[in-house]
């Protein structure tokens, strides 16, 4: 290691000398050393030469180092430096997007969406149950078969029996549902519907009258009439559905 013999070389005032050269001695120490310099030629010589070395190194520093820029230290951070992104203008909208889709916000948005979906499902289920209940209620209400329709079915059946011919179109007439009329009191549409069905049955009756004259004609007419009735019955179905929907609306 370093030997400290040099400390005692010369007159042994090495540490005071360097403190004096670099201006780190106190005022009292400076005075004492200056008095010593007047009597010690070795220290005076060293002070001159050491000061020259000190200024030469300082000159070298000023010429070569002072104008040098400090190198940019790039540290291997685990993530990219944040400062550059913040200062960059181009990154502002990207940062905005990142903030918008930050984990906290996205979690909140997802939970809100799930909540909304749940509420929607609950509402839908409750509405469908109510509708089913109303439909069942309506089914359980008084159902009457109009006498005219019964008549027409009887007539058609008798005709078919008389002619001994198969009546393929009479099948829909046998169906009780299309000819059923759900009676509700306060509905105008309902009254209109019953009149419509009456008219239809009258038509059927009128077409069935000339049956005694010519059996073939009657058969033909009979074959033609039921489709008309069937079409009208389909319309009745749609009307009935519309009525039911209106009833649901009024109940709600």
């Amino acid at each position: 290691m370093m030997n400290n013999n040099h400390k005692n070389s010369g007159c042994g005032k090495g540490s005071e000398l360097v403190s004096y050269i670099y201006g780190e001695a106190s005022a009292a120490e400076n005075k004492v050393f200056e008095i010593h310099l007047e009597t010690c030629s070795i220290c005076a010589d060293e002070l001159e030469t050491f000061s020259g070395v000190h200024f030469s190194i300082n000159d070298w520093k000023l010429k070569d180092f002072a104008n040098l820029q400090t190198p940019v230290i790039a540290l291997p951070y685990p993530t990219a430096p944040v400062k550059q992104e913040v200062s960059g203008v181009d990154g502002s909208w990207l940062l905005g997007l990142r903030r918008l889709f930050s984990p906290k916000l996205s979690l909140a948005a997802a939970s809100m969406a799930v909540l909304a979906i749940c509420v929607g499902i609950v509402l839908y289920v409750s509405n469908s149950r109510e509708a089913d209940y109303i439909v069942e209620k309506n089914k359980n209400t008084k159902i009457q078969v109009s006498p005219t329709v019964e008549k027409s079915t009887e007539v058609s059946n008798s005709n078919s029996k008389q002619n001994n011919l198969p009546d393929p179109e009479s099948k829909p007439l046998d169906k009780p549902q299309p000819q059923l009329a759900v009676e509700t009191d306060a509905k105008n549409n309902r009254t209109r519907k019953t009149t419509n069905t009456q008219r239809r049955t009258e038509k059927v009756e009128t077409t069935n009258l000339p049956q005694t004259n010519d059996a073939k004609r009657n058969d033909k007419k009979k074959n033609e009439i039921p489709p008309k009735i069937f079409d009208e019955e389909e319309e009745d179905d749609t009307l009935r559905l519309a009525e039911m929907l209106e009833e649901i609306d009024t109940i709600e």
């Binding site: 370093m2 070389s9 360097v18 780190e24 070298w60 180092f65 790039a74 951070y77």
Partner: protein, 192 residues
């Protein structure tokens, strides 16, 4: 917030929560470490590399910092080791001197115009001698003289950084100056 913390607190913060806190340490010490590296190596490019590697090495070994010594002394120790490693890697000393001479010629051209060419040549030659003399010092002496001249640290700061007694630091500086004077006796020393 970070500026109010001490070096040791910053290192603790960088180890535990915030690695970016080490950036504040870099801001505080990069110039001084660069100066130390420049004084030790006498070359700009090598000094830059050494400074960079010093901070990267310190950052990677943050967990090994026990807090027994000061952060500044830890950084100085790493920097000196980096400089010595770089110095060992240089092929031959003659190459370095040759390169220094080339740089010296370049400096003649960028010197102020009010100086005569003869004086410019003398000055560049003298600076080259100073660089060589400093470069030839033993690492212990070179380190203290560079810290004193380039980093402008006080004897007390050098003592704390190197964890040496104040008297030892002063004696090392005295010895360094004495050896430099012996090396530079051949060339005239002028106060600019």
């Amino acid at each position: 917030m970070l500026k109010s913390l001490t070096d040791e607190q910053l290192v603790e913060l960088a180890v535990t929560d915030e690695p970016e806190a080490f950036g504040e340490i870099v801001c505080r010490w990069e110039r001084k470490i660069f100066a130390l590296c420049f004084g030790m190596l006498s070359r700009e490019d090598e000094a830059r590399d050494a400074a960079q590697e010093t901070f990267i090495s310190a950052y990677r070994n943050l967990s090994n910092f026990r807090g027994e010594a000061k952060v500044s002394s830890w950084l100085h120790r790493i920097a000196v080791n980096q400089c010595l490693t770089k110095q060992r890697r240089t092929k031959t000393r003659s190459e370095t001197f040759l390169d220094d001479e080339e740089n010296a010629e370049e400096r003649v051209f960028i010197a102020p115009l009010h100086q005569s060419p003869v004086r410019q040549a003398e000055q560049s030659e003298r600076l080259s001698h100073v660089r060589q003399a400093v470069h030839a010092l033993p690492p212990e002496l070179r380190q203290v003289i560079v810290m004193k001249e380039f980093e402008e640290m006080t004897f007390q700061e050098i003592s704390e950084t190197l964890q040496l007694p104040l008297s030892t630091v002063k004696s090392r500086v005295y010895t360094a100056l004495k050896q430099l004077r012996m090396k530079l006796e051949r060339t005239p020393l002028e106060v600019v």
